[in-house]
Symmetry: D2
Subunit: 345 residues, 4 copies
């Protein structure tokens, strides 16, 4: 079975596993108070170009998002997110679980627009509702988005502007940041300049697990790890996170992984385009959303795996194809050949 289901189906990059073995008997202090975690944080600060950023590496994305929001917001403050936002749809109500409301906006191509923010924060539908409504306090974005698109530098600057206008925090979920760094003009230093906080994803970029949260805004830094611990988000052997990010940050491995994902996605995208396949959204990253005939999908199902998104019409379905660091070029060819054959069948 050849799978394009996602980018986190393998354990980890060989470099990561080797680092795990090489450090096995070092003996490190627990709860992220170790030298590897400190070193990884320093490497990240350097790449981001914010010398006094706080860097905390947590285990998973849902955890990172919920701890950050629990730590950054007061109880009545809410998060603006696009309707397809991961925190809104695919984290089992974890944000609400910490007491905060998500305010979904329509967005465009999976991205929050300044107009969306204006609509929520400006004069509201029901008049001046005052204390009867939650107070928007954060804009949550993802880079890449859930539909594979990426914010441009210009879009991010515009979002920052509207955030400043309404005193909102800008927070970026970087679960798939490696791919985004390779296919957008948004760099790590730009994220460090425009976001109050963001995270550099590990799980979907070759680590066993781990997401490195970078807190730029000084007012958000205090006591962060207490709240992480309170939510069960502190790994006893925290150095395992440090080691993985030392590995990813060294010699630009992270950037190379991102490029590699995108190159494979490009091969897949171009192959599909050559076959005349339509896409539901134009995505430059490692997630592709082709629309294919149900009959064709049925005939491919026993050899290939993907994620089904939605029925487009009576005869066609939108699916998602994702490339990972472990995707083999020959598998892409095999898939495209099989698809070509079935499309013309």
């Amino acid at each position: 079975m050849i799978s394009f289901v996602n980018d986190y189906s393998e354990n980890a990059l060989p470099e990561i596993l080797e680092a795990m073995t090489a450090t096995n008997l070092e003996g490190n202090p627990g709860y992220s108070g170790d030298a590897h975690s400190a070193h990884a944080a320093e490497m990240i600060r350097e790449k981001v170009g914010v010398p006094n950023a706080a860097v905390h590496i947590l285990v998973g994305g849902t955890q990172t998002n919920l701890v950050a929001i629990a730590a950054f917001l007061r109880p009545h403050e809410a998060v603006i997110t696009v309707e397809t936002g991961h925190i809104h749809v695919h984290e089992t109500g974890s944000i609400e679980g910490t007491g905060h409301k998500c305010l979904p906006v329509k967005g465009k191509d999976g991205k929050v627009t300044p107009e969306d923010v204006e609509a929520v924060c400006g004069p509201s539908y029901w008049g001046a509702a005052g204390i009867l409504v939650v107070k928007p306090k954060m804009v949550y974005i993802s880079q890449c988005t859930e539909v594979g698109t990426v914010y441009t530098k210009e879009e991010l600057l515009a979002l920052r502007e509207v955030c400043d206008k309404y005193d909102l925090l800008l927070y970026c979920d970087g679960a798939r940041l490696a791919s985004a760094l390779d296919c957008s003009d948004v760099t790590l230093p730009l994220l460090g300049e425009l976001c109050d906080a963001f995270y550099i994803g590990g799980t979907k970029n070759g680590a066993l697990f781990g997401e490195a949260l970078v807190i730029v805004n000084d007012r958000l830094k205090e006591d962060f790890m207490y709240i992480a611990k309170q939510r069960g988000g502190v790994l006893a052997k925290g150095w395992l996170l440090g080691i993985q990010f030392e590995t990813l940050m060294k010699d630009d491995l992270y950037e190379r992984i991102g490029h590699n994902l995108n190159e494979k996605a490009k091969m897949l995208r171009e192959g599909l385009q050559e076959l005349g396949v339509e896409f539901s959204v134009e995505s430059p990253s490692n997630q592709l959303f082709p629309i294919l005939p149900d009959a064709v999908l049925d005939r491919l199902r026993d050899r290939f795996a993907w994620e089904t998104i939605s029925k487009v019409d009576e005869a066609r379905t939108e699916i998602r194809l994702v490339t990972s660091w472990a995707t083999k070029e020959e598998d892409i060819h095999t898939f495209l050949e099989a698809l070509e054959k079935e499309l013309s069948a």
Copy 2:
């Protein structure tokens, strides 16, 4: 200033204030363990026709909704509500404050439809997301709705059916139930038959405060008052709630108040219709939503008060007019005359 802003601008019906004074020195046990609360509960059970219903009278609507949802749902369970639902828009994220997500649906005329419920509970947008998404467990409705409409018996039966199909609780917010009982074919016994729980509103129907929650479903009854106390929702002098509902339930005072509210609304509605005024929604209850020229509203503003809902177009605005038990017929006439004059000015 003549006000149609809402139905809770006066202290209380004279009968309520008299009962407060008459019972002043009785000496009652605290925390709703008194005879008045027990008697009021018994009167309500009789009217609802559910002899073993649990009845708990809390102070306010937001409080009743949040305690009920905190008590009825497990942490990952979510509430389906129409987009204009009070819990979703005007309770400052109180439901999320207890950890639960609201799942807003479009609805029709302010009402949840079976199709809305199907859309949320059936095969979902993003494929079989399993544990990544919250579990819909309750349908929240209001009778009257926030836009003054009411569910019919037929509509409620259809909702119950889809709730049964997906194992959902049906919960009805009755903040304005008196008006609804008078202008729909949904009776208290029908609510008792079809809802798992609902509340009979006091605050907006002549009480100083107080909402009587009726729990029909046996599985929802256990330890309810512990959770009410934990959320700060138990009044020390709980008998003050009991006394008010004894008064409202006696001699059909509650039903008479509802009829009175609607008669005045009818007078106002018909007067507006005679003046050719358009409404944003057809509402049979004590909330009316006329659309009026901004210029006219500007000239009326110093003598009359209303709630502004939204700009309809460049020249017109939708407003809300509400009648209360304390609304005077002469004030309605004065308003209609002034409006007629300004419309023809």
Copy 3:
């Protein structure tokens, strides 16, 4: 049945009920945005002597405590309280319900001591546990305490000092503040000077309900009422709270009530002392804790009511007697005579 069970068994002082009736048809804006609430707040600020204090009147004590703690603390911050503290024992885990841990300390005569605070905030039992333990951030005290004692000015100054040392907020629960103001050297201006926030209790001092929270510390003021609303703690007809506190603050009614409670308690205390009755604690306020033979209590039970506290030994029990504004002097005499008779039986 003559009752000394508590000080909140009657509806309200006649002055309060009269004010309710006199203002009935005024027509006030909702959610505490009315002139009565503003006026009551102004009267309180004047009495407290803090011109820019924020004053918010909520319905009940548990509600006030939980909203204040939810608003003032971050998620990992905890509250130091004496073991008998109301928030720790008698509010159904409402503080934990908002996510915060209570840190109980032994105390002395129901009061937190500076030594207690030192023990919690200084070098801890389990070594430098860092992020593994909650962060003490508030000292919760009650004036009067749950055992009827009161803090002296000197004690309060010492607590403030240790709070400053460890950057802790000092919060005072004033459910029975009227009695305490009359029997201690702690005045309202002193509370305004030493506390970050405190509340002036209404429910147990002659109001129907209502507790006036005074926030002195500027950093705790922002958006307080959003959080109150989110927790269901905002009364729709908020002016009902304003009216009651206008009444209590006018012509020193509150102080007179406190004096009245204490005078009756004094009569009861001296009567008991004359009978040679022992007390479990020396309390100068309106709560008395005599220790009486079980046999005597059994013979008094059908004519008098009290609260049982605990078995002291095989033959004796500690009970609680409380005087209220509605306690009649003749009832005190009747009780003392009956007790004398039974003690010598």
Copy 4:
């Protein structure tokens, strides 16, 4: 530096790391829906002897405890724990963070006794407080305890009995279960018979991370993983947990690790006893609590590491020494020799 600080200072047993590498490119479905997780669960069910137990492997101990308690209890229900209980002292208020109160009891040698449970659940201190107090619903124990002691079969049977009497759940934290299985008469099948749920610790027993929660009580099983996901407790690459527990359960590796830990602790304990060292508690497991002169500790500090517990008197301090699977026998000898020398210096 030779360290006896804890049993989770190394990455993992070589067998674990090898399994990570061997399975690297398998391609597994996410969120614990994989064959390794299923197989590990099956192996655990077999060892526990409860064929229909639910087994869920989470990443860490705090996380497992908080998710379990959030899933098992209703909002007003509380957890009885010994004062030194990990959830009470060293999890940053995570249980309160989910809304539940811990009810600490004195205990004996770090263990909850039936008498403790009786004291909390029987007639309470403050009379029949009813809804004003939380409802005890769970007894939380640890095997081994925080002070290195273990429950006997007899003690556990007695606890189960009192739990049944008061309708309480019995939950066992097994962070150090391997050691306990080796030095007590409490077996996995006995835990399966007497507990409603318990977890088999991985982190402190040679895994990289991972705790396997075993839910025996049918009523606690429903939708558990939804709540785990909501709290950020579901690992994307869940099979990494499955693989580790497959490894630990195979060929009794887990039991052998426990024996190994205890053998080393025995060597250390006997060595200390020969030197006449006193212990603060008699612990048969891999945690030892010797009391040593401060002067001696000061002279050992640059070569050896331990955890400081508390000052015993002016000249002596209680410390904690822990043996791990990676502890070398020669290090124990070196420590004992150095200590002997310093004690006689």
